[in-house]
Subunit: 206 residues, 2 copies
């Protein structure tokens, strides 16, 4: 397998399959079919077989997929067979919601650093972690070798935060700020923009 | 143009183009090229030309795209040349962040109804709107003929809320709850799942 050759749109579906498989495992299921998996995530069985076959032969004709085996393979492919530390910048409503999101641990992530620029917030605890001064961001993120960050600051501060994160060595940013950010090509950004997500859906309405 | 024929992946890119065009307009720009638009959103010029040409001939060889014209066309295609009322269910950190998101108006949306089940929250105001009892959801959403909702309740309550929204006539749901929800095929759901978004990015890291 060559990661460069796999279309990002397929990569984007793997976490959805993994989430569904983990849910099936919790329900006590041991095997599933592309049909059943597809029904549970709203993607066709043929698409699922095609997506998964990009990475190897993980299912058997007739018996389908072993849930523990396919879960293990997907975790390995997505590199969440380890735990990634994540920094959150901006502890407003959105940052708090992200910091308190209870499902990161089982999905391969740990919120490890929190930053804000508001003196009233710096030093406060959210869960087990203390909010640090964003002025220390570059130094602290670099020292902890953190590669992933979630940005939840107001629009005006987002680019400056992104620049600092890139400078500190961050390679992937989930951007919840209500504005686009520019980063070097080597850094992967996903912009979580509720208005854009809604617009994708209104296309289908009338 | 036949909406059924346009792949959803293309539909999903149109809001990104629209957002970039609106940003260019704010900067005082009048025209742009697929190259320039592509650079600003990290998508190839060829892909942008191909996506946009699905809907008609909106650019001119050599002169590129008129920003006001293309903006108008995209708003029409995405049906955000009008204002859609949106309901938010669950006014925890995430719901508050969504309710206070300042960019809905310019993007075609208005947060019109807020619901929570917590007696301490019901009756409280967020911005101009009062949080209503989720027990009234079906009746109120139906009366206001709302078709779009954002769900930001805890995992345990998400399916019940989704069922109520569907019953009330909602046709598109942005699901911020930390769990998948099942809806009839006619209802469009997007699951905003920070762990899944992070997993899409760790694929590329090492």
């Amino acid at each position: 397998m060559n990661a460069d050759k796999i279309p990002d749109i397929i990569v984007g579906r793997l976490p959805i399959y993994l989430r569904a498989l983990q849910r099936m495992a919790i329900q006590g299921m041991k095997t599933t079919s592309s049909q059943e998996l597809g029904d549970s995530v709203g993607i066709s069985a043929a698409q699922i077989r095609k997506d998964i076959s990009q990475f190897g032969e993980f299912g058997k004709q007739g018996t389908g997929y072993s849930i523990p085996f396919l879960t293990g393979k997907l975790r390995e492919i997505l590199k969440v067979d380890r735990t990634w530390d994540v920094a959150i910048v901006g502890l407003g409503d959105m940052g708090h919601a992200l910091a308190r999101y209870g499902r990161f641990g089982e999905r391969g992530f740990r919120v490890a650093l929190l930053f804000d620029s508001d003196p009233a917030k710096i030093g406060q605890k959210v869960g087990d972690f203390v909010i640090e001064d964003v002025a220390q961001l570059v130094e602290r993120v670099r020292a902890c070798r953190i590669q992933l960050a979630m940005v939840a600051v107001p629009a005006a501060g987002a680019q400056d935060v992104a620049d600092k994160l890139v400078q500190a060595g961050v390679r992937a940013i989930l951007n919840y700020a209500p504005t686009a950010i520019s980063v070097p090509e080597s850094v992967y950004v996903q912009h979580i923009d509720p208005a854009a997500h809604l617009q994708r859906m209104t296309f289908y309405l009338d």
